[in-house]
């Protein structure tokens, strides 16, 4: 187990090293942030001084070397735009994004799994067909469309929900205040629409496959109530592929809330990264991607651990 964890850590360090190099290189080639940072009437002298101050007047190798030295000290550099340490800027925004993704994921699981089971038990019933039709639209409709339609209905026409911002924040999240919850509803719905449909369809397929197995028939032949056969014997077997996908999808959610955050002017990392790329704010972009890749690695690790609980045949 310890060996497995160390191995995993070693791998993730390599992954993050490679990512940092690629991002660093792309941002180096992308352009000169000084042109964007200085006012149009700045003199040549100002430009040279600024470039020197930011350390971007040196060669690529020198810059990357300096970056690595700083990383070793736990410093990912200061943001060109905000002047603060890049990691701090990212971490300041991260709770908003995490809150959105976690809530969207919970919502998708709470509704996706039971609906998937219901649709799998009697696939020909009218309600199963209705569920499958809705899930198909969930898979196909793009996020920006869902978001804008929700805004149109609930903010513009009905005026029930605010269309932008996080509302009142308490303890890093807006889920604890009524105002915050009102702000959360639409972004969470928008973000979970696709995930819900995906989880639902996956649950349904998995359950239909498992329900045909001999051990399900034997459990019934043993006199185990239908309810227990479906929600324990069958569900436990179809959890394995489900956990994998939920893990991957959660990483995706954190990394790609960009569209949703833009629609609802949500002050999370998605909006930060878009702004930073536009401003060529390299330290922020690098720091953000490193944080995201770390989250991916962590989720994969948790998923691997969860496997061992769900499936006794899997050994870490």
């Amino acid at each position: 187990m310890l060996k497995y964890i160390l191995n995993r850590l070693f791998h993730s360090v390599i992954v993050m090293f490679v990512i940092s190099f690629i991002v660093f290189f792309i941002m180096f080639k992308a352009g000169d942030p000084v042109q964007l940072l200085l006012p149009p009437d700045a003199t040549q002298q100002d430009v040279i001084e600024m470039r020197h101050a930011l350390g971007i007047d040196q060669s690529f190798i020198k810059q990357y070397e300096a970056f690595l030295k700083n990383v070793a000290k736990g410093n990912l550099g200061n943001s060109f735009v905000y002047g603060q340490p890049a990691l701090d800027v990212v971490f300041e925004r991260l709770p908003a994004t995490l809150e959105l993704s976690v809530l969207a994921m919970i919502f998708s699981i709470i509704f996706g799994v039971p609906l998937g089971i219901i649709a799998s038990i009697k696939p020909k019933a009218w309600y199963s067909k209705a569920i499958m039709f809705l899930s198909l639209s969930g898979i196909s409709v793009p996020v920006f469309w869902t978001g804008m339609v929700l805004v149109l209905i609930f903010s513009v026409l009905l005026g029930w929900l605010p269309s932008s911002g996080r509302g009142e924040v308490y303890l890093f999240t807006s889920a604890f205040t009524w105002d915050g919850i009102k702000h959360l509803i639409m972004p969470v719905l928008t973000l979970s629409f696709f995930q819900l449909a995906l989880i639902l369809r996956l649950t349904r397929t998995g359950m239909m496959e498992v329900m045909m197995q001999d051990y399900i028939k034997l459990a019934t032949a043993k006199g185990v109530p239908r309810r227990v056969v479906v929600y324990y014997h069958a569900l436990k077997n179809s959890l394995i592929p489900l956990i994998t996908v939920i893990g991957i999808q959660f990483g995706q959610l954190v990394a790609f809330t960009i569209v949703t955050e833009t629609i609802f002017a949500w002050p999370g990392t998605g909006k930060l990264i878009i702004d930073s790329i536009q401003n060529l704010d390299r330290p922020i972009v690098v720091a953000y991607l490193l944080v995201i890749s770390f989250i991916f690695v962590a989720i994969n690790f948790i998923v691997d651990i969860l496997y061992t609980f769900v499936d006794p045949r899997v050994r870490v």
């Binding site: 028939k217 043993k222 185990v224 109530p225 436990k236 077997n237 045949r313």
Partner: protein
Amino acid sequence: MALLEVKNLKTHFFTRNGVVKSVDGSSFSIEKGEILGIVGESGAGKSITGFSILGLIDSPGRIVEGEINFDGKDLIKLSENELQKIRGDEISMIFQDPQTSLNPVITIGEQMMEAILYHKKGVSKKAAYEACVEILKTVGLPAARKRMKSYPHQLSGGMKQRVVIAMALLNNPKLLIADEPTTALDVTIQAQILYLMKKLSQEFHSALILITHDIAVVSQLCDKIAVMYAGRIVEYGSKEDIIFNPLHPYTKGLIECLPKLNDEKKRLYQIPGIMPSLLGLPQGCYFKNRCEFSDDECDTYPLQQEINGRIVFCHKVK
């Protein structure tokens, strides 16, 4: 009165390509402590007969006609809830393939205890656990107590089948249905398992329905034999009658197929042709195309004849 009496059972599957009459008018009965063998080729409707008794027919199939009288109740008329009380308690079943009949993610112990806990209210978990350990010892599973915590993948095929048998015997059922219990096992284990089943059904005074394609197996174990062909029973009687004096040409063919000890070296007999598809059954007797005695008479399905307490469906048996 017989423990189980099946009368004119018809289980049909309503598929896109037509109605598959998997079981089409089977009648047989079994007394307490008796062993009945149901023999036939794959697709003859043996397993479906077994599943029908327990009400385990999945859509698009359903029992369209008949009576299954068990201990004074018609099982076909019972609700799902009432059936659930009988399943695993008064009637239990052993499946063909032990590799797939145990849930891979639940421990042996838990799977076994379920059979007790859902039927015997008021039995403590501890008592149920002990009962399971006891029965695992009875079926000859080594290190029974340790196995309770094992998962199916940690056991061999033979061990799993012993677990499945133990599970079926837990509530001391009146009737045990074994659907090809040895097909998936290798030959040395087969004999052990069959002997075990016979011994246990005697010990537990359970009646046993043994479903198999292996007529050699039934000839050793059973008291009565029903031979099925294309969804119908073609001959039904005592073991002695069927094995030593078969009347129906199909039964004769099946017995002819068995290798004999004192025979000269020659090719084994083979019944010509294959069983017709249940979707394209011939007019009249289903066996006529493979039968050496068939003639025009066989273009109508033969009526039931009773000859010395044995039932046979054939125009050529007089």
